[in-house]
Amino acid sequence: MTTEKTTEPLWWGLFSAGGVVAAFLVPVHIILVGFALPLGWITDTGTLYRYGWVKAYLFVLIVLPLYHWAHRFYFALNDMGLKPMNKTLAILCYGGAVIGTVVTAWILLKV
């Protein structure tokens, strides 16, 4: 038996929080962004994105499901026989989510 400290609880926590955010918030945003705006059911010029609390909300909405994706995609690829390269996959998946976090913060602050 080996005793080791891992960062697994952190990633699992982010996965779980991302799952909750995706479950409760994402469908209505797909309806708004994917259908209501393009099809002209409602019109918008984007002024609401200037509010600080809207930015904070969007940061949570966009970033947490990225960690949810990283966790699920990493294990799905492992389960599909890519386990031998799991170190590379971990860097690509979780690293991708971290880069996504930085880019999201940068864009939201710039808008």
Partner: protein, 137 residues
Amino acid sequence: MTGTRPDPSKLYHRKMPATWWLQKQSYFLFMLRELSSVFIAIFLLVYLYQIYQLTQGPEAYVAFTQKLASPGWLLFHLVALAFALYHTITWFQSSAVVLPVRLGEHLVPRQIVTALHIGAWVVVSLGILILFLALKN
């Protein structure tokens, strides 16, 4: 929980074909659920790109929203919505198993916990819709 685990090199791993998830419907549904996270992530990145257009001015933002009216994008959002709803339902179902709700001595039936989640989700979705309509310009 302690950090004690068996030495991975001493564990036996049965060889599985990469297509094991095509052999049974429940395995296939499991993979579809995993795949839902990909579509949700792509949708959010597209949405982020739409917000980024505001740095080029409101015209660029409006032009991008209109670009999403093309049949290809509408199809993408239809597929993404189907996957997102699948994630929502399966997430609430598994929450009811992972976090059982007790009322005194009794365990609240899973179907009721799932139904309460769905009710809360409908209320939250309507709230977001109303807020968006109130704030948009």
